[in-house]
């Protein structure tokens, strides 16, 4: 009998007896307080006016490649699929390409999809989703002559 560990020391808290020793009592006052906080927290959402609603300014005429509902929900997957096709297979169709999006949606004022009231930025700021694309991709469209911005 080589192993004889010591008995586990008495628990620091218990829900039954020994209430005078424990520090995690769940009595009425504390329970009520906790519930109050839990119910109030969602109310904070109604008061948030700090982040402006997204600015969807469609400046260029014409339709998007898909309908709005599909674009809203599906553009991450569309971009992810297209990027694999382009990078790995060399398929450079314009329809779902990021460059295609930027060319249409870049603001006429700033020339970018980022920045103040930028098409991508304002929506992503509102939704609280970090944009990783523009670490590497430029947010400005290619100039008409094919020259770089």
């Amino acid at each position: 009998m080589r192993w004889l560990p010591n008995p586990i020391p008495a628990p620091a808290f218990s829900l039954t007896g020994a209430q005078e020793h424990s520090s995690l009592r769940l009595d009425g006052t504390r329970l009520g307080f906790a519930l109050l906080i839990a119910l109030l927290v969602p109310a904070l959402a109604l008061t948030a006016e700090r982040v402006p609603k997204p600015a969807i300014n469609i400046e260029k005429p014409g339709r998007c490649v898909e309908d709005t509902a599909t674009m809203r929900r599906g553009h991450p997957d569309m971009l992810r699929h297209q990027r694999d096709l382009t990078v790995r297979d060399g398929i450079r169709t314009r329809q779902h390409s990021l460059q295609g999006c930027i060319e249409c949606h870049a603001s006429a004022r700033t020339g970018s999809v980022l920045g103040d009231k930028g098409f991508c930025q304002s929506c992503h700021d509102y939704a609280g989703v970090k944009l990783d694309c523009f670490e590497c991709h430029t947010s400005r469209p290619k100039l008409a002559t094919g020259a770089k911005p």
Binding site: R2, L4, N6, D132
Partner: protein, 398 residues
Amino acid sequence: MAASIVYRELSGTDRRFWGLMAWLAVPLALGAAAFFYVEHYGHIVTGMDNQIVWGLPHVFAVFLIVAAIGALNVAMAASVFGKAVYEPIAPLSALVSMALLVGGLALLMLDLARVDRMVVAMTHLNTSSIFALRVVLYNGFLASVAIYFWFLLERRMNRYAKAAAIVAFFWQLLLATGTGLMFGAMVARAAYDSPLLVPVIIVLSATYGTAVFILVLLAACRWDGRPIAEDLLRRLKNLLAISVGASLYGAALFYFSKFYVARSHDVGQFLLFDGGVYTVLLWLGQVLVGGVAPLALLMRSQISRGAIAAACALVVLGGLAQVYVIVIGGQAYPQILFPGMVESSSFFDGEIHPYTPSVAELLFGLGGVGLAAAIIAAVLRALALLPERLDQTLSPQP
């Protein structure tokens, strides 16, 4: 029938223990601060560049991981090879191994230039990459050691401990092989490019791991004033001495082969004689501090905890110097594109690349060490892993 051994967690007042944790929190906090600093500004604030791409954090990481592999040896001796004298300290050996691996892994994962893609790193695995396979190997090793650890602690599972130990032993060997191949298969770098690195890593792991384990054991026993039998100390001391001797031999073989073979003679010459800081670290750090001096201390016939602890500390320092020479020295020597020609370019071809580690890298590396130490301390406090006394005689063992 052996006297029953009572295991007890680290004792002492809460204040004393939390004092220890406060000390350990210092390198952890500094390491975390260094990590956030580098993560925010990018690796431009470190000493790494396009020539030395793996810096001090990798030195610490490789040391911790190699030590983790070897720290399990005592447990393996007990459970796989039946050396019952080591059985009381087998759980500690497993704990030290897991803690060191977590510390080393944390350093590797957090040193990525795109740390925000850590999830990508864990979900996309290129099966032909030894680096990617190491993700599998590390996790397999951690899991198998954890299961073995649990089987040791859970009395009902004690009889399966040997089976779990054999699985863990298998993973230990796989992980050592993978780590050696990670460098050894790199034909691009003349300082690596050798399958010899696999056995070299294996003996280095035995050395570093045993030294760190002995240090932890001595420290834990000293904390509580737990006695250790002279016989156990003697065996551990001899184990370490053999490992140190084997590492010296392995290193000598490796560097000699580099120097001797024409294809790699230049890099052998560089590391052994012309390498400036790398040559100093090799001879003074690896050979003298990490090899000869500890051997002198360990080969003494009288047992002294102080001498053993000093030898272990020297082995650790020498080991860090050795890993520095391997990781950084191997990068300082440039890739030779045109053998027999003198090369120069705007991209520093043909030159020895300088490297000055930044403070952030040092703090980050020490943070990894602190993480391993904190895990060991916390678990030793929470679980009864170490016997109250290690000087009880057991039934005679081979």
